[in-house]
Assembly symmetry: C2
Homo-oligomer: 289 residues x 2
């Protein structure tokens, strides 16, 4: 039996999570995330605990347990004028922040500066704050996959999943993207997502982000697949958040919102025998398998 | 000689600060504040240090020293879904926050819970963070005049001004609004704003906020006058910030933005011999007087 059969699925099942990252980042992101969940065909999302609009999204999550959601562990803030930092006092995790007390902009600076001990403390604090608020996440993942900035961070991330008995997003393509050798850092017993799809700037700048998403749906392989999107409105707030950062900027995010609320695009799921599956359902199937 | 003459002004001068509160609160507030300064006839503003968009506004302030700005000391967060708390770790100022680590919504709960020692620490930390960032404020004032929630807080507020050699907003009407008896809490040497004008909900809900502002300009008395406004766009973000809170809500704030960028309204200044004056200029005149 292959892994799918062990989990109780047909052996050629095309399982797909369509996942909205970055909930909690801004009001625009929150409202768009709610739209793709309620009116679109996105079926899971994850929340950034250190962000200014966490509270609004956490209230939604508590009041809408029908939607699968995780914690989007956050160690970086890539934006120019919109800044945030750790949930812990910066005096407790000084290696995670720049001179203004904000997260570093990218994985490279994070990897150069952050100590594993500070990463461990902050990631636990983010989960702790979410649980204390009453959230019951189905999974854990990582903003910009920054937990891959250093092998020691990656181990902390995986350990956190074991401690909480929650699946964490582990995927070879994401690991390669951030410079982690899969063969060195995947251990026996790690649960892997077979294929992860994230838009790339080359598709966005040539107007082909929609085609990229369509192609995924038309050509999906069997196994457990994941599309990561970032829905938001191309509105004043989101233009402000993403100023000078067209990569995953507000225009991109509006395309994500539009694509994944479009009925014609949704119909491709059935046409291609794709079964949407949540992190919660995967965990249940895996635990029973 | 009266006070105006002592400060070098004509004895019947109608001096007016038109002041935008709440900069830093949101991107919408920041962009509107910049509009009323650059394209309107607002001539001073103040920045909320604990708020998510502080950094963007602080950068603007540093890069635009031609505009007079103060620190809008913040001890309350009146919004339903958009929450923020102290700049200090909550473990250091536990009496300032609710169960979620956010500021209380109103002066009453603040007054009931906060200790003067925590208020003192947090207000110093807000000023400290602003100064460390390189801000050089011209004055200090207070969000929702929450420093008036308790006489002990009010004393801390005034002491802060003396320590920093900066004018603080003291005004009898504001004191009465928050329940402080002016005769008990105004001391010799306190610098007073003669009259402060803030919109009231009755004007907003009857569509007369603009008339309220026009009447102020048409009937201004001589002395040092202050109009407090809250410009922002009635956009998605600001609707989200102010949801279920039409008092000083996003529609109100759009009216403020529109009124104080309108050329006809601006012309009332000259027609009524009103002289705009900044906090910086008042301090200079007062120090020389």
């Amino acid at each position: 039996m292959n892994r799918l059969q062990n989990m109780g699925f047909p052996d050629k099942a095309k399982l797909l999570i369509i996942h909205a990252d970055d909930a909690g980042l801004s009001h625009s992101e929150n409202m768009a995330t709610i739209q793709v969940l309620e009116n679109g065909f996105v079926n899971s999302y994850s929340i950034m605990v250190p962000c200014p609009w966490f509270y609004e999204m956490a209230l939604f999550a508590k009041n809408n347990p029908q939607f699968d959601y995780g914690i989007h562990l956050t160690l970086t803030c890539e934006w120019e004028n919109y800044k945030f930092g750790p949930v812990l006092p910066i005096s407790e995790v000084p290696s995670l922040v720049d001179g203004n007390g904000h997260f570093y902009k990218n994985r490279k600076d994070l990897g150069k500066n952050a100590t594993p001990e500070d990463v461990r403390k902050e990631l636990h604090a983010q989960i702790g704050k979410a649980l204390e608020f009453g959230l019951r996440p189905t999974h854990i993942d990582s903003h910009m996959y920054s937990v891959g900035a250093d092998p020691a961070f990656f181990k902390i991330y995986k350990d956190l999943g074991r401690e909480l008995n929650l699946p964490v997003l582990i995927n070879e393509q994401l690991m390669q993207m951030v410079g982690l050798q899969p063969e060195e850092h995947i251990e026996e017993g790690d649960f892997l997502i077979d294929r992860t799809y994230v838009g790339e700037f080359k598709y966005f700048e040539t107007g082909k982000l929609g085609n990229f998403y369509s192609d995924i749906l038309e050509n999906l392989s069997s196994g457990i697949n994941l599309i990561l999107i970032h829905p938001a409105f191309d509105d004043r707030e989101m233009k402000g958040v993403t100023v000078n950062h067209p990569n995953f900027g507000s225009e991109w995010r509006q395309i994500d919102l539009d694509f994944f609320t479009n009925a014609e695009n949704r119909s491709r799921l059935q046409e291609n025998n794709i079964e949407l599956i949540t992190w919660g359902a995967i965990k249940k199937a895996h635990d029973n398998g």
